[in-house]
């Protein structure tokens, strides 16, 4: 899989531009150009999605967490964004103010997958009081991911 450098990645997700339509074409193979899975060369990508708000309320938007991670080097990038449209009808319209990009600082194997830790270096992407540390748990055996959205634990479905 082709690796993507940070500069190109940031351009793709529109970080810093304040743009609404970030142009991230998520209906296709995802930001990292390929399906979740393969750990060739110790690198893998993933993409997980869930509806927001969910629960008793019909989903209005889609929360997308995706990343490209090098297990051996314990490095990579994780991005979290909110797109207009519920899962299944998700658009490429990234809602402004919700996109966060974290630099991966640690990757550990966990039951069924990996636990990824990262840090959001751009403070402008943080809400008041929000922890810059990002954790993403990937349970690839069950196809589920967990991370936080505005302080709440959120479960997402990993999309191949």
């Amino acid at each position: 899989m082709e690796k993507m450098n940070r500069r190109k990645f940031l351009t793709l997700v529109g970080v810093g531009s304040g743009a609404v339509a970030a142009g991230a074409m998520l209906s296709g193979p995802g930001l990292f150009g390929g399906p979740s899975g393969g750990t060739s060369s110790g690198t893998f990508s993933f993409r997980a999605v869930t509806g927001l708000p969910g629960g008793a309320l019909p989903s209005y938007a889609s929360y997308v967490v995706e990343g490209n991670v090098n297990v051996a080097a314990r490095s990579g990038i994780v991005a979290r964004s909110v797109y207009a449209g519920y899962p299944g009808a998700m658009t490429t319209i990234a809602l402004p103010g919700f996109t966060q990009v974290a630099r991966v600082t640690d990757v550990r194997e966990a039951e069924g997958g990996f636990e990824i830790t990262g840090v959001i270096d751009d403070a402008s992407q943080l809400r008041p009081g929000e922890d810059p540390v990002v954790k993403v748990q990937l349970d690839r055996s069950r196809g589920l991911a967990r991370t936080r959205f505005l302080g709440r634990d959120v479960g997402l479905k990993i999309h191949a």
């Binding site: 609404v20 339509a21 927001l52 708000p53 969910g54 629960g55 008793a56 309320l57 019909p58 989903s59 209005y60 938007a61 929360y63 909110v82 207009a84 449209g85 519920y86 299944g88 009808a89 998700m90 658009t91 319209i93 809602l95 402004p96 103010g97 919700f98 809400r127 008041p128 009081g129 929000e130 959205f149 505005l150 302080g151 709440r152």
Partner: protein, 334 residues
């Protein structure tokens, strides 16, 4: 998300934010026998202009049957540096047609206030008057609500603002108002509109793409493909077609938020208030929502308490400070 982005992909192909209605407002003009009708579209101004092929329509029900008796039909010319806009007023059966019917009452250009007789018109980019902590909603309305933020504070829309004499809204002051956007059934963009015809080249049969009366009905109560079905349907069918959707949310939401959900009978009663999705308005009254809707009415707080059975009563944000005291009332764009 009063109705912003309520159905991603509003029209094939690829969606069209320029016909995505964000809000509809109706309020009495202070000290005068006139009303202000507003239909805002283009959430987050994702589209560059109004759609020159579309029919923007403000429907008025004058007898309580949830069917249009008066329609203000607004069309635009192909965009150049600006767009010409024409407003027609249709009545009776013509008001219910998916066609551009009615006599012309006022014409103008986008981003310019024009007056003709008792009518006044503005169509163009303005500050979005809607206010809501969208992030809090997306997070599932958690408490304590510590990070209050108005997602729409810096957002713009494209707005059609129409000042009309109340006599143009019918003799009965108790009316219902909703907005519709329609596109030609023929998908070919082969007209020869050169932009100098005041938007006259709209002789197609249209199909309804989007509609809205009260805020947040579609966005809150309709799930998945039902959002599209709701947008394509007519208010007079709401009770029969969508009561179940509304009751489904009302009977679960309060409990899910740690409070008490409505029982089915009460939920059905409330659904009967919320549907049909029409903005009820007595044009002799300056009272706000649920009598019409003023630009600064905190419709979300009003609806939150109702929908959650009191489990949540406020999103913590208030009206924008950029509203104008005079026409077109919406603040200048950011």
């Amino acid at each position: 998300m009063a109705d912003h982005l309520d159905e991603p992909g509003l029209s094939p192909p690829g969606g069209d934010p320029s016909i995505d209605i964000t809000d509809v407002y109706a309020f009495k003009k202070s000290g005068q026998d006139k009303s202000i009708l507003v239909m805002a579209v283009n959430p987050l101004t994702l589209a560059p202009t109004f759609n020159h092929r579309a029919l923007y329509q403000l429907e008025v029900d004058t007898n309580g049957d949830a069917r249009a008796d008066i329609a203000f039909n607004i069309t635009f010319s192909r965009p150049h540096s600006e767009q010409r806009v024409k407003v027609r007023r249709a009545t009776g059966d013509d008001a219910r047609e998916n066609e551009v019917e009615g006599g012309t009452i006022i014409t103008g250009r986008t981003n310019t206030i024009v007056t003709r007789g008792a009518y006044k018109l503005f169509a163009g980019r303005r500050s979005d008057a809607f206010f809501f902590d969208l992030a809090w909603f997306l997070a599932g309305l958690p408490l304590p609500h510590t990070t209050v933020a108005d997602f729409f504070a810096m957002a713009n829309v494209d707005a059609i603002v129409l000042e009309v004499p109340n006599s143009a809204l019918g003799e009965n002051p108790n009316i219902g108002i909703w907005g519709r956007t329609l596109l030609p059934e023929d998908d070919d963009d082969d007209d020869d509109d050169d932009g100098d015809d005041h938007g006259d080249d709209h002789d197609d049969d249209f199909a309804q793409i989007e509609r809205m009366g009260r805020p947040a009905i579609n966005t809150v109560f309709m799930a998945g493909a039902r959002k599209r079905q709701f947008n394509r349907s007519k208010p007079h069918n709401d009770a029969a077609e969508f009561t179940g959707d509304v009751v489904g949310v009302l009977t679960t939401l309060g409990g899910a938020l740690g409070g008490a959900s409505y029982d089915a009978a009460t939920a059905a009663t409330i659904a009967g208030i919320l549907l049909p999705d029409i903005l009820t308005y007595n044009y002799t009254s300056a009272g706000g929502f649920l009598n019409g809707r003023r630009l600064d009415d905190d419709v979300i707080d009003i609806e939150l308490g109702l929908v959650t059975n009191g489990a949540r009563t406020t999103d913590g944000v208030g009206a924008h400070g950029d509203l104008l005291a005079n026409f077109p009332f919406l603040g200048p764009p950011h």
